[in-house]
C-alpha cells in the first residue's frame, strides 16, 4: 500500500509549521524546557543567542507604539466608563487646600515636608491632621510624616522589627506566583471588608526571581511603587525558583555560591526598593513542597529570604509558612490536624499549591502579622471617606509611643477560621517596644 498523496501533504504542512514555529520561538522554547524540566544544564547553551531570528529595532518600535496607543485608548475608555457610571462624581476634584489670607501659616506641600529633618518625633496630638472641608486648616503634624530611617538624626536607634499597622484607606500590594494567586483573594477580601484597606493583587503564575527576562519582579514592583502610594508589600514566591538561572548567558546550577549570590541580590533589590519608598514588607517563606526536586531546594530559598530580611529589620519581616502548613513544621504534609475540624486537606495533589483551607490558613498567618482596626464601610461612606475610590482622602496613622501602648488592646483581626495548634499567632503587641513605630503618611 502506498502513501496517500493528500495525507502526505497534510503531514508536510503540519511539520513545516512546527519547524517554522520552533525556529522562530527557539529561545522561548529552550527557556521553557530549562524551567520546567531542568535540562540543558549539561549542554550549557548560550541562552542569550538562542533565537535564530530577532525582531529588528523597527518592528520593536512599531510594536511599542501600537502598545502605547492601546494603553491610551484603554485609559480613555476607563475614564469614560467612570463618568458614565458615576457622573460628575467621577471627575477628580483638584485638592487645593484653602489658605486663609490673614494667616500665613499655610501648610507646605506634603512632599516637601517629608524631606525636612525633624527633631521632635513625638506626636503632639492623636487626631490626624486632615484639611477640614470648612476651609480652616491645622498645620500638618510634620512628625507624623517622617520615617525613622529617612531621618539621619535617628540612625543611632537600634533596628528593631516594629509593628506593622494599617489604617483604612491604606494600600497593600501583593506580589507572588501561583501560590500567592491562591491566598491573595483571601487577603484582599478580608482587608477590604473588615478594615477598609485596598489591596492590589499583582500575583502572576509561573513567575519568580529566577527568570527576570521572563517576568521582572524587581522592576515591576519599582514601577508600581513609583506610580502608587503603597503602605505594605506582601511577597510570596519560590514555586518557580528551584531551578538553574542564567548568569551572563550561561546556566548556573541551583544552589551554587554564584546562584545564591545573584538570587540574594534580586531579593535585596526588592527590599531596597521598598525601603526607598517607605514601604514595609512581609516576606512569606515558601512552604515545604511535595515534589522531589523542590523538596530539598525550598529551604535554600527560605534561607536566602530570611537572611536578606535580617539585614533590614524594620523594613522586612520574614514569616516562615512551614509551621502553618505542615504537621511537623518541616516536611510536606497534605493534611494537617485542626483543633475543631480534625484532619483537613491543605495542599493540592500537585504537591505545590493549596486547597481553600490551606489558603485561608496562610492568609490568616499573613494577616496576623498586622495591626488592624475594624472598619465600617457604611460609616465611612457617611463621612464621605470613600476608601475604595482612587481619590481617597488621605488618612494618617499617627501612632506614637503613647498611642502604641494602647495598641495592645487593638483588636487583631483574624480570618474566621480555626487556628491550627501549630500556628502560633504572633501577637504584634509582643514585639512592640518603646522604639519608634513606623509612621506613614498618605500623600495623595
Amino acid at each position: 500500500m502506498y502513501a496517500d498523496e493528500k495525507d502526505l501533504r497534510g503531514l508536510y504542512a503540519i511539520t513545516l509549521a512546527a519547524f517554522l514555529l520552533l525556529s522562530l520561538k527557539l529561545g522561548a522554547l529552550v527557556q521553557y524546557f530549562q524551567q520546567t524540566h531542568h535540562i540543558f544544564l549539561d549542554v550549557n547553551p548560550s541562552a542569550a543567542s538562542a533565537d535564530w531570528f530577532h525582531l529588528t529595532d523597527e518592528i520593536e518600535t512599531a510594536r511599542q507604539s501600537v502598545e502605547s496607543i492601546q494603553l491610551q485608548a484603554n485609559q480613555r475608555l476607563i475614564k469614560a466608563g467612570q463618568i458614565i457610571a458615576l457622573g460628575d462624581a467621577a471627575i477628580p476634584q483638584p485638592e487645593i487646600p484653602a489658605c486663609p489670607v490673614a494667616n500665613n501659616q499655610c501648610p507646605q506641600p506634603i512632599a516637601n515636608v517629608i524631606d525636612t529633618p525633624i527633631k521632635t518625633v513625638e506626636t503632639k496630638t492623636e487626631t490626624p491632621a486632615i484639611h477640614s472641608p470648612t476651609g480652616d486648616t491645622k498645620p500638618i503634624d510634620t512628625a507624623a510624616s517622617v520615617l525613622p530611617m529617612a531621618d539621619p538624626n535617628l540612625s543611632h536607634l537600634p533596628a528593631i522589627d516594629t509593628p506593622i499597622e494599617l489604617q483604612a484607606g491604606d494600600k497593600v500590594l501583593l506580589v507572588g506566583d501561583s501560590m500567592m494567586q491562591g491566598l491573595g483573594p483571601h487577603i484582599v477580601s478580608s482587608l477590604s471588608r473588615n478594615n477598609g484597606i485596598n489591596t492590589i493583587d499583582m500575583s502572576r503564575h509561573s513567575t519568580g526571581l529566577a527568570y527576570p527576562h521572563y517576568y521582572d519582579w524587581p522592576n515591576t514592583i519599582l514601577q508600581k511603587l513609583q506610580s502608587e502610594k503603597i503602605n505594605l508589600l506582601i511577597i510570596f514566591i519560590g514555586a518557580n525558583d528551584t531551578w538553574d538561572i542564567v548568569i551572563n548567558g550561561r546556566y548556573t546550577g541551583f544552589g551554587n555560591p554564584k546562584w545564591i549570590e545573584v538570587y540574594s541580590e534580586r531579593v535585596e533589590n526588592i527590599i531596597l526598593t521598598a525601603k526607598a519608598y517607605n514601604v514595609r514588607v512581609i516576606w512569606l517563606g515558601a512552604p515545604p513542597m511535595g515534589r522531589e526536586k523542590m523538596m530539598d531546594r525550598v529551604p535554600v530559598l527560605n534561607q536566602i529570604f530570611e537572611s536578606a530580611a535580617a539585614k533590614y529589620p524594620g523594613v522586612v519581616r520574614y514569616v516562615p509558612t512551614a509551621s502553618s502548613l505542615s504537621s511537623d513544621g518541616k516536611t510536606f504534609s497534605k493534611f494537617i490536624e485542626l483543633p475543631t475540624r480534625g484532619k483537613v486537606m491543605v495542599r493540592t495533589d500537585d504537591g505545590v499549591h493549596f486547597t481553600a483551607n490551606g489558603q485561608r490558613l496562610l492568609a490568616q498567618l499573613a494577616l496576623s502579622q498586622l495591626v488592624l482596626h475594624p472598619f465600617d464601610k457604611k460609616l465611612a461612606a457617611k463621612n464621605n471617606l470613600s476608601v475604595l475610590s482612587q481619590s481617597s482622602s488621605s488618612s494618617m496613622s499617627s501612632m506614637a509611643s503613647e498611642s502604641s501602648a494602647s495598641s495592645t488592646q487593638i483588636e487583631i483581626q483574624t480570618v474566621a477560621l480555626e487556628t491550627p495548634q501549630a500556628v502560633e499567632v504572633k501577637s504584634t503587641a509582643k514585639t512592640e517596644t518603646d522604639s519608634l513605630p513606623i509612621i506613614q503618611e498618605n500623600q495623595e
Partner: protein, 465 residues
C-alpha cells in the same frame, strides 16, 4: 503533558509520522496498536497510577460487557448493573469521598463530638469523570443490545483514545468504535478544517480566554466588594465567555488532533450563547454530556412519557446530577438545580403559551446562564452572596475598562453568529492553496496569538472535572 504544551506538540509531530507510515505499510490494525500504546504513555506521563486505574477500570468494564450476551441470542442483565455500580463507586471514591467526608463531619460534629472519618490521600485521576461516562455508555449500549462487545484491544483504545481522554468529548460506542474497528485505510479527511480548528483553539484558549481571565475574571471575582456593580456584571459576562473559550477551544484542539489521526469526533459546542431557551442552551453547550444525561438519566427516569409534573421532576433530577458531575461541591449542585428550575420555568412558560421575541429570549437566557456561572465559579456559597451584595454598590469608582469589555462581548456575540460560515468558507479557501502556504498561515496566526496573549501557560478549566 498538556495538549497545548511544547512537549506534546513535539511528541505528537513525531508520532503522527510513525502512525501514518505504519498505516501505509500495515493498515489500521497497526495504527490501533500504536494509538493504544501512545494513549497509555500519554496518561502515564501525568501519573503512573492514573494509567493503572484506567487499565483496571477498562478491563472490568470490557470484561463485564463480554458477559452480557448469554450465547443463546439473549442478554444477561447483571453484568451491566454490576458494571454501572462498580464504575460509579470508583468515580465516587476518587471524586466525591473527601466532599462527603467533610460534609458529613460538618453535619455530624454538633451531634457527636468524636465524629471522625478517615481522610484519604487520594489523587483525582485527571479525566476520570469523562472516561467513566464513556465506559458506562459503552456498557449500557451493549446491555441494551445496540451492539456486540468489542475486542479487548479495541475496547481498551475506545476508553483511552488520547485526544478524548482528559476532557471529552464523551463519545458513544457507535461514534468512536466503528472508526477504531474499521479495516479500511484511514485518511486525513479534512486537513484544512483541522488547521482552522488548531488556529481557532489558539485564539480561543491562549488569547481570549487568558485575556478575560487576567484582566477581568480573576481580579473581580477575588474581591467583588471592591468594584462597581457595572464591573461585577461585566466580570460575570467575561467569565461566561472565558468558560466558553476555554472549553470549546480545548474541544477544537482535540478535534483537530483526532482529524490528523484520521478520526472524527462528535460535536461538543454549537454557539451556546445564541440559545433562546435553557433547554436549547444545553443542546448547544457540552453537547456530548447533555445527551449522555438525557439518554442515561432523563429518559430512564421516564423522560416526558409520564405526567407533566413527572416530566418536570425528571428534568430537575437530571440537571442536578449534571451539576454534581462537574464537581464535588454544594455550589455545583446548586448550579445544577438552578438550571433544572430554569427548565421547569421555561416549560411552565410554554404551557401557558407565552412567547417572546427571539432577541429578548436570547438575552434572558444569557442572563440566566450567567447567574448560573456565578455559582459555578464560586468557591462557597458565601462568595456568591458577597457577589450579589456587590451588585448594589453603585458608588465605587470603576477602575476597569468596562465600556471596552461590553464592546468585546458584543463582538463575541456577533462572531458567534458568523462562526459557522467563516469556518466553512475558510476551509474551501484553504483547500485551493498549496500546503506550504497553509503552514505559513498557521505559523503567522500562532505568532500573532502568542504576541497578543498574556504570558505563561494556562491550565484548562475542564481538566478539573
Amino acid at each position: 503533558m498538556h495538549y497545548l504544551s511544547p512537549e506534546f506538540a513535539l511528541v505528537f509531530l513525531v508520532f503522527i509520522w510513525m502512525y501514518w507510515r505504519a498505516g501505509w505499510r500495515y493498515g489500521p490494525g497497526a495504527q490501533n496498536q500504536l494509538l493504544l500504546i501512545a494513549s497509555y504513555l500519554f496518561y502515564f506521563s501525568f501519573n503512573w497510577r492514573f494509567a493503572l486505574i484506567l487499565l483496571i477500570f477498562s478491563l472490568v468494564i470490557l470484561g463485564l460487557a463480554r458477559l452480557i450476551p448469554d450465547g443463546y441470542g439473549g442478554r444477561r442483565r447483571w453484568p451491566m448493573i454490576l458494571g454501572v455500580v462498580l464504575a460509579l463507586i470508583n468515580l465516587g471514591i476518587f471524586k466525591y469521598y473527601n466532599f462527603f467526608r467533610e460534609e458529613a463531619l460538618y453535619w455530624l460534629s454538633p451531634l457527636f463530638n468524636t465524629a471522625s472519618l478517615p481522610a484519604l490521600d487520594l489523587l483525582l485521576p485527571v479525566g476520570i469523570s469523562f472516561y467513566t461516562f464513556q465506559g458506562l455508555a459503552y456498557l449500557i449500549s451493549i446491555g441494551r443490545g445496540e451492539r456486540a462487545p468489542a475486542s479487548w484491544q479495541h475496547g481498551l483504545l475506545h476508553l483511552s483514545f488520547f485526544p478524548t481522554l482528559l476532557a471529552g468529548p464523551i463519545c458513544r460506542p457507535k461514534e468512536l468504535l466503528p472508526q477504531i474497528e474499521t479495516e479500511l485505510d484511514r485518511n486525513i479527511t479534512a486537513p484544512d478544517l483541522a488547521y482552522l480548528l488548531l488556529l481557532s483553539a489558539l485564539i480561543k484558549k491562549v488569547w481570549l480566554s487568558a485575556w478575560l481571565a487576567e484582566t477581568w475574571v480573576n481580579p473581580v471575582f477575588a474581591n467583588p466588594d471592591g468594584y462597581h456593580a457595572i464591573e461585577l456584571i461585566c466580570a460575570v459576562m467575561a467569565y461566561a465567555w472565558q468558560l466558553f473559550f476555554d472549553f470549546s477551544g480545548y474541544t477544537d484542539l482535540v478535534t483537530a488532533l483526532a482529524l490528523f489521526l484520521g478520526f472524527q469526533l462528535p460535536r461538543n459546542f454549537n454557539q451556546p450563547y445564541l440559545a433562546k431557551s435553557i433547554s436549547e442552551f444545553w443542546q448547544r453547550w457540552h453537547i456530548t454530556l447533555s445527551r449522555w444525561i438525557r439518554d442515561f438519566v432523563y429518559i430512564p427516569l421516564g423522560g416526558n412519557r409520564g405526567s407533566w409534573g413527572r416530566t418536570q421532576f425528571n428534568a430537575l433530577v437530571a440537571m442536578t446530577l449534571s451539576g454534581f458531575w462537574h464537581g464535588a461541591s454544594m455550589t455545583f449542585v446548586i448550579w445544577g438545580i438552578w438550571h433544572g428550575v430554569g427548565v421547569i420555568l421555561q416549560n411552565i412558560w410554554q404551557k401557558i403559551g407565552f412567547r417572546l421575541p427571539g432577541l429578548i429570549a436570547q438575552i434572558i437566557t444569557f442572563i440566566f446562564v450567567c447567574i448560573g456561572w456565578l455559582m459555578f465559579r464560586a468557591e462557597d456559597w458565601q462568595s456568591v452572596e458577597l457577589f450579589f451584595a456587590g451588585l448594589t454598590d453603585w458608588q465605587t469608582l470603576p477602575r476597569l475598562n468596562w465600556p471596552g469589555l461590553i464592546v468585546a462581548v458584543l463582538i463575541f456575540f456577533w462572531a458567534a453568529t458568523k462562526a459557522e460560515t467563516t469556518i466553512n468558507r475558510g476551509t474551501e479557501l484553504l483547500a485551493r492553496w498549496p500546503w506550504w502556504i497553509k503552514s505559513i498561515l498557521l505559523v503567522s496566526g500562532a505568532l500573532l496569538v502568542i504576541a497578543l496573549s498574556p504570558p505563561g501557560m494556562h491550565g484548562f478549566i475542564y481538566f478539573g472535572f
